[in-house]
């Protein structure tokens, strides 16, 4: 059990603090929306006079509508663990408000100074909204942290741990189910040479060595200095279904070439690290249980997220 606990990713305390900070900012903006939305909704006339807008019947309804928008946004921000979408909606709302205030400024009968003050206040809030929206959307992807990609997934394989561990331990087998790997070959002194496909038809290579190897339980490896892609990984095997099956947990961490920019570019080519890992372990299960990677007419290459995005029609290929 001890090594299972050790396998939990150590919480990065710095990142944790940052998350909490962003969280507080988002929450504050949510409450700010409530503070604005409630008077807009229940006292639109008073509100209009306060910001210097002509208190017509039509403007009262506009103000009420803005109030409803504010309360909706507040509910979204306060309700969600990751409110980045609703924070972005706030930015859009700010732009809307600024346009409306600009229109109000053009009208001669509105007290200009009050409208200007209101516009300045909105502009200030817009800056805060933009910052909060950018921060939360950046940190809303759990697999990236400062450009490094980290992901973890698990699957149950209906084979005994000895068999599952044995297959994985032959690293030459990994390309059979890891779609990105071209080859893994053993070198002298316990090193392994990995070759992987990269976007735009390129390949990347690295050498890795096994860091930890507990038969039928754990294999951990790490790339050596000078690799194209610095990376490490571990796979854990735990008995399930009374020892007839195995829970396989895979963790990978790597720094894509070009770090954050590289990861973003890779994503544009449909490379989602977590989804790829899920596909990889699903294929691993297929190979272990059925002896093959399952193919269909729509997905002739077998389980692979990119193939799932771009399906062939469900009829035999030429």
């Amino acid at each position: 059990m001890a090594d299972r606990q050790a396998s939990q990713p150590a919480p990065d305390s710095r990142a944790g603090q940052r998350h909490r900070g962003e969280d507080r900012l988002a929450k504050a903006l949510g409450w700010f929306s409530i503070g604005l939305g409630v008077p807009q909704l229940i006292a639109p006339g008073y509100f209009n006079r306060l910001i210097g807008v002509n208190d017509s019947r039509r403007n009262r309804w506009t103000t009420r509508a803005v109030g409803i928008r504010e309360l909706g946004g507040a509910a979204g921000i306060l309700d969600r663990p990751r409110p980045s979408g609703f924070l972005f909606a706030r930015v859009v709302g700010d732009a809307m408000d600024l346009l409306m205030l600009q229109a109000a400024m053009r009208r001669k009968d509105n007290p200009r100074r009050r409208v200007m003050a209101a516009a300045a206040a909105v502009a200030g809030v817009t800056v805060i909204d933009v910052i909060a929206s950018a921060k939360t959307s950046r940190s809303s992807d759990p697999t990236t942290e400062g450009g490094a990609v980290r992901a973890r997934t698990a699957i149950t394989v209906n084979r005994a741990p000895e068999e599952v561990y044995g297959y994985w331990h032959h690293f030459e087998n990994l390309p059979n189910f890891m779609a990105h790997l071209k080859s893994v070959e053993a070198k002298e002194d316990g090193r392994w040479r990995w070759v992987a496909n990269a976007p735009l038809g390129r390949t990347v290579e690295w050498e890795a060595q096994i860091e930890e190897d507990i038969p039928n339980q754990l294999i951990a490896w790490r790339s050596l200095e000078g690799s194209d892609v610095a990376n490490r990984g571990s796979v854990r095997f735990a008995p399930a279904a009374g020892g007839r099956a195995t829970e396989v947990t895979l963790e990978l961490a790597y720094e894509p070439p070009g770090r954050a920019v590289g990861a973003a570019v890779a994503r544009m080519f449909g490379e989602e690290p977590l989804q790829q890992m899920k596909d990889d372990v699903r294929r691993f299960k297929q190979v272990m249980e059925t002896g093959e990677v399952v193919r269909s007419d729509g997905t002739p290459d077998g389980t692979r997220s990119q193939r799932q995005l771009f399906q062939s029609e469900g009829q035999p290929a030429e």
């Binding site: 596909d279 269909s296 729509g298 997905t299 029609e313 469900g314």
Partner: protein, 391 residues
């Protein structure tokens, strides 16, 4: 080869397409001798199931002759006559080991798509959208059958015609499982919503499993007549009677011990305005199904009884009477049929003469006429209940 292709909502066409090839070592290629149109094909053709692609070959009820085998298939030989079950199942995973073949963990290469819609993925199915694998279907001259060492059942008895064994691929086991999961006790009364092909087999199976009375519910007199004359049911036409009241009358106030829903997501309601209300909501995607029969099956069931859902559902329903389920201790049983589990025992029942599945067939035509077959089946033309196609 010729194959029946989905070309868009309500558009079916027989096209020339490439012949299938072996893609995996455990594949077989089957030359199809008989295939049928299923009620669930109508849901696919009607656009109610997402992830269909133009050109997809339809059909998951088929049988034929093995013409080619992958090198890992050793239990079949070229020339064998086989019926192919509609769920594709590996036979190796924990679900298959438990006999839950339609939940095979390995046969859906697009499992990621199904996970997004449903949380986890069930098995792949022939000709049944891309979220269930993107496999070419069997309304064609040939089909590739994955895991051919597990699914197809060999028919050794040449005295059995195609039509007698074809429905082992889906609708007979589906109707049978619908009744079996109700744990029918001697003396039980079973009600079946939908007198389509699955409903007919659910009626017949409920009797095979010891039910004393079976009541079939539909609105088409010719289908009710089939249920009465061929399957031995009592019948109710829901456009003529209040079903819940009628069932109470027939059971002295208890309600049926088991209620089998064999209708699915395109149910029709006896009341015009209510039917229109759910149709509009479905069209606007406020709900993806029209669940009238399911609601009625639940509210009609005896306290502590079992509701078995065999009709196909794909997404979300509105106004699900969960209060009736919870407070009256109902049990809900459901699932795509685990066909592989039932093929052999049901083949034995056919051989022993306990049932002749041919009674549901109303139309026979060539594969080239598939589009006409779909139209007749969907619109209940010429008293259509089941169409068998011959390539």
């Amino acid at each position: 080869m010729k194959a029946t292709c989905w070309m868009g909502v309500h558009r079916v066409k027989v096209n020339d397409v490439p012949d299938p090839r072996i893609l995996n070592d455990r594949d077989a290629i089957v030359r199809i001798t008989s295939t049928a149109i299923c009620g669930s094909d109508l849901h696919l053709v009607g656009g109610y199931v997402p992830t269909m692609e133009k050109g997809d070959i339809l059909g998951h009820e088929f049988m034929g002759e093995v013409v080619e085998l992958g090198k890992a298939v050793t239990n079949l030989a070229v020339g064998d006559r086989v019926v192919v079950p509609f769920p594709i199942a590996c036979g190796n995973c924990l679900s298959c080991e438990r006999g839950l073949y339609s939940l095979c963990e390995n046969s859906n290469p697009n499992a990621g798509m199904a996970e997004k819609a449903w949380g986890s993925s069930p098995a792949g199915i022939f000709g049944y959208s891309h979220m269930l694998g993107g496999f070419a279907g069997g309304q064609a001259e040939y089909a590739r059958v994955p895991f051919a060492d597990v699914g197809p059942i060999k028919i050794e008895d040449d005295s059995l015609s195609d039509e007698q064994v074809l429905f082992l691929s889906d609708i007979f086991p589906t109707g049978y499982m619908g009744a079996e999961v109700c744990d029918i006790q001697p003396g039980d009364t079973v009600a079946v919503w939908g007198a389509g092909p699955v409903g007919q087999f659910a009626v017949a199976s409920a009797y095979l499993l010891g039910a004393e009375r079976v009541i079939a519910i539909d609105r088409f007199p010719y289908r009710l007549q089939m249920a009465r004359d061929k399957a031995g049911a009592e019948t109710l036409n829901y456009e003529e009677v209040d079903v819940r009241e009628a069932l109470r009358d027939l059971t002295a106030g208890r309600g049926p011990d088991a209620c089998i829903e064999a209708v699915g997501l395109e149910a029709h309601h006896g009341s015009g305005p209510i039917n229109a209300y759910d149709k509009v909501k479905q069209a606007m995607r406020l709900e993806t199904e029209r669940p009238h029969a399911l609601r009625q099956a639940i509210t009609s069931c005896r306290n502590g009884g079992t509701v078995s859902i065999m009709g196909v559902f794909g997404g979300m329903i509105d106004k699900f009477p969960i209060g009736s389920v919870m407070n009256r201790s109902l049990t809900i049983k459901t699932g795509q049929c685990h066909v592989q589990r039932y093929m052999r025992p049901l083949l034995e029942r056919i051989q022993s003469g306990e049932i002749d599945p041919r009674f549901v067939i109303t139309h026979r035509m060539s594969l080239a006429e598939a589009a006409r077959g779909y139209d007749m089946f969907k619109n209940k033309k010429d008293q259509c209940t089941k169409v068998v196609l011959s390539p």
